[in-house]
Each structure stands twice: as structure tokens, then as C-alpha cells.
Symmetry: C2
Subunit: 382 residues, 2 copies
């Protein structure tokens, strides 16, 4: 391995500030004592700020996918009908999770590279739909479902719950959970919160609680009613939490508060604009249609004649920069760059500079410095 | 908090060697690259050594309870019958997890403080029992089910699977998974492996695979077939793993191999003998009957007139030593001391010394040095 690690420009896990990394080495504590309760309470409070919610937020020891599974297994009972717009690997995964739960899953097909609008989803909504399940930021295609507020409104008109997978976006783009009427919102520690992987955060609205309480078949490890009891009455988690990751999340959320959510989101937006400008200036194409482009995951089509593995390999070997490949049917067709967490001009420019060089080396003509210049202009450095 | 942290004599989480703690701060890596694959492969290989198995061992991002839930949700389908000897909080939890899964759970009542023998379980076994689910080390009562080999044999005679919760014991007491015919064995990172909490390890036998593959209702996040595909074909985990905890587990398992499993188990046994000798010398009583006494969790009855909370508080405030209280109906009646992981003469003597002093201070007459002397004798120091 490189002596100083990699610059992790993957769509998660992402780079973790030294301050967060080092927090994990603090002496361990018991999870049934006042030290943990204080830590836990502070995390939940700061998570509420990040989610912009007054609701309970639970910190679960599992990946983001585990968080989504927790949400669906608590809300859904076998036979329940759910509507899931499907536009990539993670929305497919959400549908599959609901199916495994025994739900009747109605998939709304959406072209990969775009996101659903109200008109596409409306025909599938009726009063027997228990929940509309939506991936807000489709990590596999670099798409953000910008119409989420309208879709949430639509769901509410039909009395359905709104369950949102925000794993790769919360803290990096606009997502006022309460204001938009999101009943369950899930994120992961290792994306825009710039914390190591291993924790999922899940918010639960009053309306969602009614469905959860009525569910006689809640799973055991992921039982949110049990989690609520422990959170509200004891400020603890029902089972042993991953304490070092709680230390890290505490520090990561403290950094988020210090910066302020609005500024943090604007920083992500500015860096994303720089990436997209650079992509265009290098003669490349972003995969999603312009209106659906994510500001946390930048999906770029690999130009003809360039091998996507060779490109990622060159980025890694020559610059120590990790970028992601495609997923599912896009495996060889796109590369994905994480624009998350600590993202700043520095990470953008290293990545764009490495990309220019590696592409040229693989035979794709890039005008020297074209991408970097375009990125700098968007970053206000020129 | 104390300036140098606590001595964690809880029945988990337990003390973590500095070497393991610091491993978490290594630079992060992606979980789809060769660096992770190499790490993961080494962990699995060393876990097989610790489990004494040739079977697959999976490392899951969740607590030990999550590992047990994973096992039961993969093996059991709604309506399946399982037999669960119940002798404490964790065996109750195992029964509840199976019930939540929709299984028909037959509980075998066993007195708290003892463990099941073949004759108790035999009447409940028949050919329609899918699995015998057993807690090998009942953390809540300080009991070890020493008859596990005979019980596993009994289960096999009836064609049932053997699912063993070894969360608080694997690595600290005898448990040859293959030799004893255990189909699924579950442990947690934060107990005898001396790693921070947040990971569960699960081994799966060929016979268990047949049941799992036939299960059309496997959960999504915990799907072991998916995990097997990723492990065997890519040496990866299906979802984003808690990478820093994998670093820690890698180091913890390396330490286990360096010491050797046999020596490690003998070290636990010796320290446990010292604890039990000290308990007796101080005029206290171990909670379990002698033959069932665990060598990883020492459960001690709180003497009349002493408040268990006051005792634990004094241990913490005056000596920085954390010990556990009782659970469930034993909450005030016992305290529990972890004898796990890095346990050595040092930790035993600090704990016993603190206990002597705090008990005396709370009005319980302990002859000065009686406990420490008895412990030292067992440790071969006198």
C-alpha cells in the first residue's frame, strides 16, 4: 500500500478527517454507563440538526443498506403494497429489500441517468399503498431525485408513508426531512458525514411510528420500538453499539455543526460544479441528464477506446487517487467520483489533474490543463 | 472521565490492547479493492483458526445479537420448530429472535445459574425440530453450558441443526466448532477476541447451508447466501463493511494466533480460577453452581446489606474499574466481572483488590488481603 494512504474519491467510503479518525482511539467505555449516554445524546442531537428534524434519530451498527432494511422491515408487513421508482442499483436494492420482507412491490421504471417526476409515479399511487420508497441520490448513476418534495406530497395525498434512502447525500445536499414530510430517512456514516463506515442513521416520524407499532412482525435486531424505548428512557442503544465509530461520528457531526449545514451543502455544490465543468472541458460527458446531476456522486461516461479499469488503475497507481467504477449494467461504461464529506478545491483539483493525465496516457486527447482550468474557474480560483 | 480511561472488567465490551486500538487509525481503503480483499481474507483465515472450523466464517457489521439474528433468520422459515433451552437473558433473547422470525419456539426451562443437560432437552427433540438453539455461555448468569457436545450429539440424532450463541466465550474457552458438530456458531468482536464492539462472526456448516439455501425468505441485509457469493468469488462483503473495525479485528486475531488458542484458553481458565478462589476467600458466593461456572463471565452474588449499585459505583469512582450489574431478574442480586480477552494476573488482582476495599467500605467484612492472596495462589504467584 502507499505510504500515506489513498485519496478516497470513491462514492463512499470517503476521506475521513484526521480529527475523526483519531477519535476512534479514545479509551473504550461501557455502553450502559453515563459516559456513553452523554456521547449518544450529543450524537442524536447533532444528527437531528443534520436531518433537520424534530423526530427521533437512531444510530444503528450496520451499513447504510442495513439502515434501509431496518426501515422497511419495521414499516412493512407481508402483503403490504409499496411503490418504488427504480433507476439504478440502489433503488433495485430497495425494491428487493421490500420483496424479501414479503411486500407487494410495484416498481416504477425510470431511465437510468434520470429520476422520477410526479407524473411518472402518480398512476401507481392509491389509498392501499403503504409507502413510497425512494432513493434520493442514486449512487450507481450519479443522479439526484430533485422532485422528491413533489413526490412526497403526492404520497401524502394518498395517505402513504415516504421512506427515503439518503445514504449517499445527507449532509451534502438539501434535505429538510420534516419540511418535506419525509417519514423515514436513512443515511450512512461513510458518505457526506465524512466518518468511517459501519453506522446507519434513521429518522422516524410520528406517522411512521403508527405503522411500526401496528407491525406485529418487527425483526429483533432492527426493532425500532425497542430502540425507541432504549433511546427515550435510557439514552442507550438496545444492543452493544460500535463504540469507536460512535466516537468518530460524534466528532464528524461536531465538524458539521461547526461549519453549518448550509455552508457545507454549498461547498458540496461548488465542488460538484467544478467537477462537471472539468468533465465538459476535458471533452467527457456526465452520465445523467443535466437536471438530475448529483452534487455528491459525479458519474462520468468512459470515452470510447478507453478501458475503465485501466483508467481507475492508472489513477490509483500514479496518483493514489481512488475513483469508483460503474455498477450493474453500467460497470464498464462509467466511472464515479465521490464529491463528499471533506471535499474541497484541493481534492477536486488533484482528481481532475490526475484524470487529465491518465486519460491522455490511455490515448484520449485532453487539452493540457483544460479540466483543471475549468474547475478552478468554478471554484473561484481564477 | 478519568484521564486514562477505565479498566473495563465488564462482561463485554472488554479491554482492547493498544495495538488493536491503534490499528483503527490506519488510512481508510475502499472495500472493493485488493487492499480490502487481502485484509478480509486474512481475517477469515484467522477466524477459522479461532473457530476451529473448515467452514465459511462471515464477518458482519453488527453486534453479537445481530449475528444471532442473522443466523436464525437465514436458517428458519415461518412455522419451523426450534428448541431453545432458556436459562438467562441471552437465551430468552435467542428464543424471542426465533419467535419474531415466525418460528414455533419450544423453550426448555432451565434454572438460572445452571445449564441444560441431555436429559432435560431430550423429551423436546423429535424429527420435526429444525434446530436446537443454545447459548453456550450465558452472559447474564455467568454460566457455561458444558454439556454442549452431548446436546449437539442429541440434536444430530434427531436431524436437527445446532445453532450456538458463543458471543461471550469464543476464544476464551474450549469450543472446537467442527469437532462438536456445531452448524452455526456466532461470536462478537468485543468479548474474548479483545476487539472493540461492532462486528459479529458467524460460521456456517454444509448442513446449515442446505437449510439456508432452501429458505426463500432470507432477509436482505443479513442474507448469508449473498455473503457467501461475495466471500467466495470476490473475497469481499456484500455491503460496506466497518473498515476500521476490520483493521482492529485483523490485529486482534493476529494476537490470538501469536499466543495460540490453547494457551489463550488456559490463560482465561487460570484467571477465572483466581477470581472464583478470591470470591470464596472474601466470603462471597459465585452465582452459578460450581459445575456450570463460566471462565469468561464471573457472576457473584451481592451480599446482603450491600447495594449493588453502590458497589459498582465505588469500584468505578475509586479505582476506575468497571464491573457489570445483573440483568433481568438478577439486576440487583449479582455483579458480573468479565474475564476476557487480555485478562491476566494484573487485571485480576486490580479487580479483586478494588472489590475487597469497596466491599469493606460498604460494611461487608472482608479480611484484609484475603481475596488477593487466594487469587495469587491460583495464579501461581505465591
Amino acid at each position: 500500500m502507499r505510504q500515506d494512504g489513498f485519496l478516497i474519491m470513491l462514492p463512499g467510503p470517503t476521506n475521513v478527517p484526521d480529527r475523526v479518525l483519531r477519535a476512534m482511539c479514545k479509551p473504550l467505555i461501557g455502553h450502559r454507563g453515563p459516559e456513553f449516554r452523554e456521547l449518544h445524546e450529543r450524537i442524536v442531537e447533532n444528527a437531528r440538526y443534520a436531518f433537520q428534524t424534530e423526530a427521533d434519530v437512531f444510530v444503528l451498527t450496520c451499513s447504510g443498506t442495513g439502515g434501509v432494511a431496518c426501515a422497511l422491515e419495521n414499516v412493512l408487513q407481508p402483503g403490504d403494497e409499496v411503490v418504488v421508482p427504480v433507476m439504478g442499483v440502489f433503488s433495485e436494492r430497495m425494491a428487493e429489500t421490500a420483496r424479501r420482507r414479503g411486500a407487494k412491490v410495484v416498481e416504477v421504471p425510470v431511465a437510468w441517468g434520470s429520476a422520477p417526476i410526479r407524473e411518472q409515479v402518480e398512476p401507481f399511487m392509491h389509498e392501499d399503498v403503504k409507502a413510497l420508497c425512494l432513493v434520493y441520490n442514486e449512487t450507481s448513476t450519479g443522479v439526484i431525485a430533485r422532485e422528491l418534495p413533489a413526490l412526497a406530497e403526492l404520497a401524502k395525498e394518498h395517505g402513504a408513508l415516504v421512506v427515503v434512502d439518503a445514504v449517499s447525500v445527507l449532509g451534502g445536499d438539501v434535505l429538510p426531512v420534516d419540511k418535506w414530510g419525509i417519514d423515514i430517512c436513512i443515511t450512512g456514516s461513510q458518505k457526506c458525514l465524512a466518518c468511517p463506515p459501519g453506522l446507519a442513521l434513521v429518522s422516524v416520524s410520528e406517522e411512521a411510528w403508527r405503522a411500526i407499532e401496528a407491525n406485529q412482525h418487527r425483526p429483533f435486531y432492527f426493532d425500532l420500538v425497542r430502540a425507541r424505548e432504549f433511546l427515550r428512557e435510557r439514552r442507550e442503544t438496545p444492543f452493544t453499539p460500535a463504540i469507536p465509530l460512535f466516537y468518530a461520528l460524534d466528532e464528524a457531526l461536531a465538524m458539521l455543526r461547526e461549519e453549518g449545514l448550509e455552508k457545507r451543502i454549498e461547498r458540496h455544490a461548488r465542488c460538484a460544479r467544478a467537477f462537471y465543468a472539468a468533465v465538459e472541458a476535458m471533452g467527457l460527458r456526465a452520465f445523467p441528464e443535466p437536471r438530475w446531476r448529483s452534487q455528491t456522486v459525479i458519474a462520468v461516461e468512459v470515452p470510447e477506446g478507453v478501458d475503465s479499469r485501466a483508467l481507475r488503475s492508472a489513477m490509483k497507481e500514479r496518483y493514489g487517487v481512488l475513483i469508483g467504477g460503474g455498477m450493474g449494467k453500467l460497470r464498464e461504461r462509467i466511472v464515479r467520483i465521490g464529491c463528499m464529506g471533506i471535499i474541497s478545491a484541493r481534492e477536486v483539483l488533484i482528481t481532475v489533474g490526475a484524470l487529465e493525465d491518465c486519460l491522455r496516457d490511455l490515448g484520449f486527447p485532453v487539452e493540457a490543463g483544460a479540466g483543471s482550468e475549468a474547475a478552478k474557474r468554478e471554484l473561484g480560483l481564477l
